[in-house]
Structure formats: C-alpha cells, structure tokens
C-alpha cells in the first residue's frame, strides 16, 4: 500500500479492492479524499495513505432522469432515474459518489443528513474491471 503514488489511478485501484483511500499531509495533517499528491493547505508533498471508514452523512443529491450514454447503457432512463450525491465522511472530508438503495422515483423520501455507508459497484472483469464508488443507507 505504502508504495503507491497518490494519484487518481491508484485511488481507483484501491476502489477495485473495495478500499476508500485518502491521503494525509505529513507536515500539516490535512486530509484529502480522493488523494492529493500536493497538499493544498501547506503545499507540502510528503503524504501518506489513510483508509477511510466509509461512513458518513448525505450532504446533497440529485436523481438524474437524463444521463450520459454510459449511464443509459446501465439501464437508467426517464422512468428509471439514478442518484448521484455528495457524502460528508466521518473523517470530515466530502466525496462524490453514486447513491444506491434509495427510491429515485420518490426523491422527496431521500433525506439530507441521513447516515450512509460505502459500497462498491464493479463493472467489467479482470484487467477491464472498473469500480464506481457508491453509498447506500446505513
């Protein structure tokens, strides 16, 4: 784990392993998820990997009826919207994710501030596998 660069490529590699990883600045302690290689607080570049617990509260969301082609291919459309949202993690950082396990046809039932936990959506297999970060109600 320690040798991996603090990049989006390796952030996604961790997602494949069902780990939600961030980076922490060794100089000032600032925490970032997704990871950053350069600290935007103190501009230091000595970072370490930190695993997030994957628990947090829903901070914002939307139920999307008209999505891009790659989401339409997953079977979403006007009658079957999908939810994307922003989750505020217990560690104090915010992250964007797919939101699963909610009724997207009744968005007024989805509550901001409700507790959510990380889930991992794997698409494709082997070398081609990609994982999308999702959160579902706790």
């Amino acid at each position: 784990m320690e040798g991996r660069p603090f990049s989006d490529i390796f952030y996604e590699q961790f997602l494949n392993e069902e780990k939600l990883m961030g980076s922490k600045c060794k100089k000032c302690g600032a925490l970032f998820a997704p990871p950053r290689s350069i600290c935007i607080k103190c501009h230091g570049s000595d970072m370490e990997w930190v695993e997030m617990k994957g628990k947090g509260k829903l901070a914002a969301f939307t139920c999307i009826a008209v999505g891009p082609p790659f989401m339409m291919k997953e079977g979403y459309d006007r009658a079957h919207p999908y939810c994307s949202g922003v989750v505020e993690l217990e560690e104090g950082v915010r992250i964007v994710a797919r939101i699963e396990g909610v009724d997207t046809t009744k968005p007024e039932t989805i509550k901001i501030g409700a507790p959510f936990t990380a889930a991992y959506l794997h698409r494709g297999e082997g070398e081609e596998m990609r994982t999308f970060l999702a959160f579902k109600p706790l």
């Binding site: 939307t62 009826a65 919207p81 994307s84 964007v96």
Partner: protein, 421 residues
C-alpha cells in the same frame, strides 16, 4: 484580502453584436459569427474599419466534440477577413467568451494592441440530448462525471443542500423561471421569446385543435408543477429549470480608452473585471455557493471601487434556475439565504430595484456555451446605451451594469462591470 488590481490603461467597449440564438439546421458556426460581426460593425456609431482590428480572441468550448472541428480562432479570423492577424481561442467551458473578453482587455491594457475583437461561438443543436449531456459533462470535475453527475445534476445537488440549509423549495425556483420567460418575451433574439403564460396558452390551443383533453392549469406555477408539462431532468431540476441546447455567436469591439471617442460619443468603459477558479463539489469550501464567483466579484469590485449596491442591473449565469439564486448571493446583491426571497418579492424583475437577466438569461435567451459570456456583455451594452427597446430597464441615470459568467460546475467564474461616464 485580495490584492487590489488595475489595468495598465483604460479599455472601452465601442460596438457589440449578437446572432439570434436558437437551434438552427441551416446555419453553422461561421454563419452565426458572421451575423454577430455584421451587427457589431453597424453598432459602432462613427463606424469601424475592420482593417483596424489588431487581433481576435474567440471563446469556444465544445465544437471539437460536437462538430469534429477544432482550432476555431483562425477559421473565424479568416471568415471576417482578419487573417493573417492573430487569433487566439480561449476555453473556460461555459465562460469561454468571458475569458476572450478578459484577454482582449489585457491585450489593450498592456499597450500592445489598440483595437481588439472578442467574442464567442458555439454550435450544439446538431447532436442528440444525450450527446450534448455527455459533451457538457466534459467540464465537470473528473470525479463528478464518473459517478454520473451531469450539469443539471450538479445544480440539482446544490439545490438540495441549499433547500435544506435555507428552507427554500421548488416553488421558489419557479419564480426565477417565470421571471426569465417574462423578460425573454421582450427579446426577439431569444430562443424562447415567450412567457410561461404564452406557453400554456399555446398548449391549450394545440389540445383543442387536436381534440385532446384540454389542460386546466390554474396559473403558471400549476403548469410548472405538472410533470407531463415539466418533467424531471435531474431532481429537483425540471425541464423549465434548465437552459436549452443552443447555437449562437456574439462579439464585442474593444479599444483603448484614449481612442474611444473616434468610434462613438457614447462608449462604455471597463470598470472592473474579475475571474476565479473553483474546485468541484467534493473539495469546495461549501456546496451552497461558488467560491470562484465570490473571488471574481471581489476582484472586480476592488478594481472598480464599486459595491454590489452600485450595480444597477446584471446578467448572471442562470444555466439553471437554482444557479441564478446562488449568484445573486455570491455577487453580494443579497445576503446568503436571501436570494430566493428577493426573487419571490419581485426585486429582480425588469421593473424591480435590481433587474436580473433582462435578456431572459441563459434559461430563455439560450446558452450556446462559448458565446454566452459575450452575449451577456452585449445585453449590458444595449441596456447601458438605452437601446434595449421593450425590455429596457426603467432606471433613471443608468450608469453601471454587470455580467457574471460561470464555466463548468463553477470551475471558472468571471464578473465584469461596465460603466458609462
């Protein structure tokens, strides 16, 4: 505290032109820019010789993707007979032509050029809605696009956070939509130059003609609540909360302040100009406002010495109804959490104390993304020179107007203040 900035020398606006905005099967980017350029030349009171233009700065965002043709600077430079003089394309997503304006201002302020044409063009309607959604999502923050966020989706998410904090609802967004349509009804260049009431009446007429059940909406909000008339795009953003897919172009002629009177006795001057960058939903300071707008506004206010209350009217980047409310707050016109109340009270109407989006805004005028920033400044030009016709703001002693342009999901924001002296 931001450093207070000033231009090396003053810059004036002496002409402006804009194509009609809409979805055109029979016009391409060149045709649209030619339309804007021709109007711009005729708008210069004492005339302008195209041979005196030193350079072109052109905003464009997605023509590479949608038209499979990039490198629009020289194409447009050649179109208007400017080549071999330099042409530079600027890209800041939906703020591309506000950046062209800014670069043109700097080029003159530096002393390098005296006469610069700035503008923008975009051609979007020849693609499907899904393709346009995907194309525009090129300007989201990478993490957002991957988890399915679209443009309406980002503003939908912002709306849920804003509603939760300040107690606003969808009903408040409807006030923005109704106002924008009322203004666009008075703008013949607008893509939708009709009010919500006009729209309702035409639907009723259509149903009667076809012998279908005639809708019985009590009022405009009742129409907007009807999910058949106003379906969800990215909840809580519905169809009439969203700007359309548009084609269009706009351009502005900038000159050094000391030669402005050679072109017109009624020039406008660049009083303040600001630009900021944003960081996406996950890294933003807060998800109920745009820090890039606040930064840009501070820069522009600082440079001009003007305050929010000095801005007599403004165009703001209402790509979505929710966005307009947030911008009203970020630009300092109203306090955080008060923007939706101001709209509800009619303060931002054409005849209110702070008219916003007199053109109809992106929502109704149309949003050919790369042309939008220049087209907003075209509206400020028309209003400040009292040439806006039916939609002229009824303010005595008109002196200061402004335009706010936002690119991506708040990644690039600009605020430009123009004044008469």
């Amino acid at each position: 505290m931001q450093k207070r900035r000033k231009l090396g020398r003053g810059v004036a606006v002496v002409g402006a032109g804009m194509s009609k905005f809409g979805m055109f099967k029979d016009k391409d980017s060149k045709d649209l820019f030619a339309e804007a350029f021709t109007e711009m030349l005729s708008s210069v009171d004492k005339g302008a010789d195209p041979n005196d233009i030193d350079a072109l700065y052109l905003g464009n965002f997605t023509n590479d993707f949608f038209m499979h043709q990039g490198h629009w600077g020289p194409i447009i430079s050649d179109l208007i007979g400017l080549a071999p003089k330099p042409a530079t394309r600027t890209e800041g997503a939906c703020a591309s032509s506000a950046l062209a304006f800014r670069e043109g201002v700097f080029a003159i302020a530096s002393g390098f050029y005296d006469v610069v044409l700035v503008g923008g063009v975009e051609e979007m309607s020849k693609r499907t809605t899904e393709e346009v959604t995907e194309g525009l999502a090129l300007a989201t923050v990478p993490y957002e696009g991957k988890v399915g966020f679209t443009f309406p989706g980002v503003f939908g998410a912002l709306a849920t956070a804003y509603f939760e904090r300040y107690g606003a609802t969808r009903e408040h967004l409807m006030n923005v939509t109704i106002k924008s349509h009322n203004n666009a009804r008075l703008n013949s260049k607008a893509q939708f130059n009709l009010s919500i009431r006009d729209l309702m009446n035409s639907r009723i007429e259509r149903a009667k003609k076809k012998g279908e059940p005639v809708p019985t909406w009590a009022d405009e909000k009742d129409f907007l609540r009807d999910l058949r008339a106003n379906p969800v795009i990215a909840w809580p953003m519905h169809l009439y909360d969203c700007c359309p897919i548009s084609d269009g172009a706009a351009c502005i002629l900038l000159v050094a302040e000391e030669i402005a009177k050679n072109f017109t006795d009624n020039p406008l001057y660049v009083a303040g100009i600001g630009q900021g960058s944003g960081r996406g939903l996950h890294a933003a300071e807060d998800i109920t406002y745009f820090e890039a707008t606040r930064y840009a506004a501070q820069e522009a206010y600082g440079m001009s010495g003007l305050k929010p209350e000095d801005i007599q009217f403004s165009e703001v980047h209402d790509c979505f109804s929710m966005a307009e409310i947030v911008h009203l707050e970020d630009l300092g016109f109203f306090k955080p959490g008060e923007g939706y109340k101001a709209v509800e009270e009619g303060l931002t109407r054409l005849d209110g104390p702070k008219p916003i989006n007199t053109s109809g805004g992106l929502k109704c005028k149309g949003h050919p993304v790369g042309a939008t920033g220049a087209s907003q400044l075209y509206e400020v030009w028309k209003q400040l020179r009292v040439e806006a016709g039916e939609r002229q703001v009824p303010i005595k002693d008109l002196r200061v107007g402004a335009a706010h342009n936002l690119g991506g999901t708040g990644g690039t924001c600009t605020f430009t203040i123009l004044e008469r002296r």
